[in-house]
């Protein structure tokens, strides 16, 4: 399952870091952060619930880049 979330981030390098962090979160198979359109596309693992995974993704992003936001 794939879902798209709007994000807010200031620099391209930070966006790349968010992408890395999102990919490493449990329950996420793959994640792409598009800095140009300010969107994060998350592909979830089989049986993972976006409602529980996404807060973890958001927390992971906040950890690598304090000044970012993922709108759930």
């Amino acid at each position: 399952m794939k879902k798209t979330y709007p994000i807010e981030v200031d620099c391209a390098n930070c966006a790349a870091k968010m992408e890395e962090a999102a990919k490493k979160t449990a329950g996420v198979r793959h994640a792409v952060v598009n800095f140009m359109t300010l969107k994060m596309v998350v592909e979830f693992e089989e049986g993972a619930d976006p409602k529980t995974v996404m807060p973890a993704v958001r927390a992971a992003c906040k950890r690598v880049e304090d000044d970012c936001e993922v709108f759930l």
Partner: protein
């Protein structure tokens, strides 16, 4: 400017003014330090806080941390002005980046602004009510006034108009539509009032599909983007370790050699390293270039599904074409009439009348060539013989119209030379009357398209077709196509493309251009599948990597030219940014360039790279 950016601008101005003021005030010792701390805190408090948080979250090596270390280091060494000014310039650079990227993001998005804002529905008393297109159900009747965008795909119930499709196709000629025609969302109604019954929901309509495609395009990353991401991951830590080495090793060596250590000097040089270590110019300008390139292309009606395809497109060396519908119009037309013992108009009249009951494309083309209304009462005893043709009585005379087999069947000898195209023979009262040759017409601009491809550095053009060999050869000769393979079944087209793929050199790509109707397997097999005339055809949009919204073959060369320009800009930016940073690192290590030069290099490279990236949006001339 956003509120965040305005706040930053105020901080920059205030701290810059304070620094200038402090230059004029003679302060000494602790007072001087305290005084400089004021603008330092104003301009850099967020950086310092973020750096502290980064350390706590075990994420060192981010640019906040680096800037904090560099500026605090400078201040500890007594270089107050330098420390504060570097922080100031860093913030100016960040502000510019956020402003420029935000602005270009909006500009490029505006190019793709085909999203309709509302749909008009007739209320109970005939008044128009504006609603969100998302809420309109299938089968609803909507009204589109002149000057408005068609919000949803549908069929015209009433009215006729000229539609401007340029936002979708890049084609400036308006398209005439009338009752019963299908219309697609995103076109602008230029003239008449239209009442349309919608056939799709907004999420499924053409405009949403295109928007989704273009917006997601930059998520498929190209090799240069992946390279930069990897590079940035190595570059920053490498420079940081370099800085540590630079701060420690030379003084230790000097001590061992019995010289003065000069720790201050070397630490200062190391701090300069830290300032240069931010990879932002690269990381921001590469995806921005691709985004601008994809945005510019979409304005011309060329949809590229991903940055990776733009990259592949730029390396195109072989272009393989389908014939019918791609290089030709796919509409049959009488090209030559060779009568035998009567005039040409008479021959066409006999043929058209005899074939008047048939719906075959060839009969249609005969009727068009005749150009007058068919008087059905002149035609009797029509007999259609499958695979042969038609026999009928026209004005009481026995007329046979068909291929050579039909002529043999009615006992007539064909007296015609070899002519390209499909030949239709006519016999009247058992006597050979002549033949009519029918051909598909070559698209206007097809020849120019092939020439433009050759100019773009495409080394080989190949045409694959299911049509007869002599027809294929003639079209190829007329278009100057290098290689033709004819009389192919769809599966054979795939194997030809595979043969070509096997033979290509590394770093070259093979593009296949088709109309997307029955060549989906070939489209997906080639390195890049280009579907043309895809406006309103979902299947083609699905199957292809690059979609030409109209059916102009010249757009193929344009797409390649655009991709080449975009990639050239990408490589320029990579070389420029890495080059300047490399030079600054060397100069910094030698002590020639100080922290000031370093910050100017960092911000300046970023500014130039961003401005260069925006160029990818402009369409190159062919």
């Amino acid at each position: 400017m956003s509120r965040k950016q305005k706040k930053m601008l105020v901080r920059i101005i205030v701290s810059a003014a304070l620094i200038a003021l402090l230059q004029a005030v003679p302060l000494q010792g602790a007072w001087r330090l305290a005084a400089y701390m004021v603008p330092y805190w104003i301009i850099g408090y967020d950086i310092l806080l973020k750096a502290a948080k980064g350390v706590r979250n075990r994420q060192p090596f981010d640019e906040n941390f680096l800037m904090a270390v560099a500026t605090v280091g400078a201040i500890v060494l007594g270089e107050y002005v330098e420390g504060v000014a570097v922080m100031l310039f860093y913030q100016i650079g960040e502000l510019f980046q956020s402003y420029a990227v935000g602005k270009s993001r909006r500009n490029i998005s505006a190019l793709m602004d085909i999203r309709p804002d509302y749909a008009n529905i007739e209320g109970a008393d005939g008044e128009l009510v504006r609603v969100d297109p998302d809420e309109v159900a299938i089968g609803t009747v909507i009204v589109v006034q002149p000057g408005e965008k068609i919000p949803l795909d549908g069929v015209i119930l009433e009215g006729h108009a000229a539609l401007n499709t340029s936002a979708l196709t890049g084609e400036s000629l308006p398209r005439e539509v009338q009752e019963g025609d299908e219309v697609i969302s995103g076109c602008v109604n230029m003239s008449g009032l239209l009442r349309i019954r919608t056939t799709r929901e907004f999420g499924e309509s053409t405009v949403s599909k295109i928007l989704e495609l273009v917006e997601n395009a930059s998520s498929r990353k190209s090799p240069p983007e992946n390279f930069i991401t990897k590079f940035a991951r190595i570059y920053t830590p490498a420079v940081c370790y370099g800085a540590v080495a630079l701060a420690l090793l030379p003084p230790i060596v000097r001590l061992l050699l019995g010289m003065e250590a000069q720790f201050g000097e070397w630490v200062m040089r190391a701090l300069t390293f830290l300032v240069i270590s931010c990879p932002c110019a690269l990381v921001v300008s590469i995806p921005l270039s691709f985004f601008a390139g994809i945005g510019g292309a979409s304005r011309e009606g060329v949809l590229v599904k991903g940055s990776n395809y733009l990259h592949a497109l730029s390396q195109t060396k072989v272009v393989v074409f389908d014939k019918t519908g791609t290089m030709t119009q796919g509409v049959f037309e009488v090209s030559e009439v060779s009568p035998c013992g009567m005039d040409a108009a008479q021959l066409v009249e006999w043929a058209a009348l005899a074939e008047s009951y048939s719906a075959h494309p060839i009969s249609q083309s005969l009727k068009r060539a005749y150009g007058q209304a068919i008087d059905a009462s002149r035609v009797q005893d029509v007999e259609e013989i499958g695979g042969h043709g038609v026999t009928a009585r026209v004005d009481g005379k026995r007329v046979a119209v068909g291929n050579e087999r039909l002529m043999a069947r009615v006992g007539v000898t064909v007296q015609a030379g070899r002519q390209p195209g499909t030949l239709v023979h006519v016999a009247v009262e058992g006597v050979y009357a002549g033949c009519i040759s029918i051909q598909d017409r070559i698209k206007p601009g097809a020849r120019e398209a092939i020439d433009a491809l050759h100019r773009q550095g495409v080394s080989r053009t190949v045409m694959l077709t299911g049509d007869r060999d002599d027809v294929a050869q003639k079209v190829a000769a007329e278009l100057n196509i290098d290689e033709v393979h004819s009389e192919l079944l769809p599966a054979q087209k795939v194997s030809w493309v595979e043969t070509i793929l096997e033979k290509k050199a590394k770093g070259e790509t093979v593009a296949f251009v088709g109309d997307g109707i029955n060549d989906a397997p070939v489209l997906s097999r080639a390195d890049i599948g280009v579907a043309m005339g895809a406006l309103g055809s979902d299947a083609a949009i699905e199957a292809a990597d690059v979609v030409l919204m109209d059916d102009d073959p010249r757009k193929i060369a344009l797409a390649i030219a655009l991709s080449r320009k975009c990639l050239r800009i990408v490589y320029q930016n990579i070389a420029f940014a890495i080059g300047v940073k490399g030079v600054c690192l060397v100069l910094g290590a030698l002590g020639v360039a100080g922290m000031w030069a370093a910050i100017f290099a960092d911000v300046g490279v970023m500014v130039l790279a961003v401005l260069n990236a925006i160029r990818a949006m402009r369409i190159p001339k062919l």
